[in-house]
């Protein structure tokens, strides 16, 4: 338009009506995109393609912090490293002995399951992913990790660290994935109380140190200090991983439900490396699983869920 001459007046004159039309067009396009993105997963391919363009920038902004960490690791003294190695050796020794005990239990467990004719839990494969970026928007608890669908990440993949569940994959790009944390206000996952099998749902609050356990009836058997583990219902998270510990219970006689607050076991705001559970060969969908849960936890039947 402005190629002939850079006369300001000329360009403004010819531009007038088309700018309004363009803003309408782009607004409509945005609304269509948002609706598709919110309702279905149709535009996920577009997002994944664009994420390839943005990913280098997301890596680039971490270069200074990474360099500092690398330097501090590089310049630790030999003694410190020796101490560290010593500590790690002891830890490995400890865990190995624990594992030995677990192997015996696992064999026994498998035998018992065979007797009950229920299918065994599939062994899970994991990959270690590194945290690349934390969402700058303080209202959303989302992180970016450096493993994408090419490395085995997939939509809905559970993400954990050594202490417990962290979240699940929200967008799986080719080289990176966005993970929504369990403390995100839009996230909820099915759990049960480790002590008695009481089932419930854990919802995020938007604060890193708080999870909410809604719909617990006033007479529910929950105590401060109870460990909440994933119940495996819903089929997204595997069963038995720790989620949080009940930290506060308050009762308002006027309300039908207890107000139960739990603290996540995982270090959600300090985590640097996470474990990604990869998809099992095929999604096991066995009715026995559910039946089995009910059988082994008689308390779960009595409790409101």
């Amino acid at each position: 338009m402005a190629r002939l001459k850079q006369g300001e007046n000329k360009t403004i004159f010819t531009r007038g009506p088309s700018a309004g039309a363009r803003v309408l067009l782009f607004s409509l396009l945005s609304i269509v995109l948002m609706t598709l993105d919110h309702r279905q997963q149709h535009v996920e391919t577009l997002r994944n393609a664009l994420s390839l363009l943005v990913y280098p920038v997301q890596r680039l902004v971490n270069v200074p912090a990474d360099t500092v960490r690398w330097l501090s690791e590089e310049f630790t003294s030999k003694e410190e490293q020796q101490i560290e190695i010593q500590r790690l050796k002891q830890e490995v020794f400890f865990y190995r002995s624990q594992l030995r005990k677990l192997t015996v239990t696992e064999v026994e467990n498998r035998r018992l399951r065979l007797l009950l004719q229920s299918s065994e839990d599939l062994p899970e494969r994991t990959i270690i992913a590194e945290l690349v970026n934390v969402d700058a928007d303080p209202y959303r608890h989302q992180i970016l990790i450096n493993k994408g669908s090419r490395q085995g990440s997939y939509l809905g993949a559970p993400v954990l660290d050594a202490e417990g569940i962290i979240g699940q994959v929200l967008h799986a790009g080719p080289l990176s994935s966005v993970v929504v944390l369990i403390t995100d206000p839009s996230h909820a996952l099915p759990v049960q109380v480790d002590r008695n099998g009481l089932r419930g749902i854990v919802r995020g609050t938007g604060r890193y140190s708080e999870l909410l356990l809604p719909y617990m009836q006033n007479n529910a058997d929950v105590e401060v200090g109870d460990l909440l583990i994933t119940s495996g219902l819903g089929g997204r998270f595997p069963r038995g991983y720790p989620v949080g510990r009940v930290s506060r219970i308050s009762q308002d006689p006027g309300q039908p439900f207890l107000r139960v607050v739990a603290q996540p076991t995982a270090d959600l705001d300090r985590v640097r490396e996470v474990l990604l559970l990869m998809a099992p060969p095929e999604q096991p969908d066995n009715p026995n699983e559910e039946f089995d849960t009910e059988l082994s936890d008689p308390a779960a039947d009595l409790a409101p869920s």
């Binding site: 664009l50 943005v54 920038v57 969402d135 700058a136 209202y139």
Partner: protein, 162 residues
């Protein structure tokens, strides 16, 4: 699209890239709440200085990039940026003759509109803002406007971006 890179168009591209980097760079947690809307500031400048080159379309694309980078709803920032670019294009003649502090006031207004659209969509999809902190980024950005303006203007003159 090819028009974008001639007559110093790469300066515009690089400035948006720098804006994106500043948006994503890790900061201490307390500073996150005040993180300026860098891309929006840069967009306002170019929409005001070169309204025949930078407008709704480029604003929309910058917004879409932000959406992907921040994993927000695809089209959310794009919509806000497109509307802001349109308003700035419309007002560019008036903006240019204002002294810097009055310009800052207008920029605050534009940024608030931008932020309100983003928060409004957040509310619709289930992330309603819980407090008044979402007003902090536009205010912080307004304080930075004079510097952004001066830096980009000098760049534009020195590198002859027309």
């Amino acid at each position: 699209m090819s028009r974008l890179t001639e007559r110093g168009g790469w300066v515009i591209l690089v400035s948006f890239l720098v804006g994106l980097i500043l948006t994503l760079i890790p900061t201490p947690e307390w500073a996150d709440r005040f993180r300026p809307q860098w891309v929006a500031l840069i967009l306002i400048y170019w929409c005001m200085a070169l309204p025949d080159r930078v407008g709704v379309g480029i604003g929309w694309m910058a917004g879409l990039t932000l959406d992907v980078a921040q994993a927000s709803l695809l089209g959310q920032h794009a919509l806000a940026m497109a509307i802001m670019a349109y308003v700035t294009n419309k007002a560019h003649m008036r903006l240019r003759v204002l002294p810097l502090w009055q310009q800052s006031g207008t920029v605050l207004l534009f940024l608030l509109v931008n932020q309100l659209i983003v928060q409004w969509i957040n509310g619709v999809v289930g992330y309603p803002p819980r407090d008044w902190w979402y007003l902090a980024p536009p205010l912080a950005s307004t304080l930075l406007w004079p510097w952004v303006f001066v830096v980009l203007r000098d760049l534009r003159r020195r590198l002859r971006v027309t």
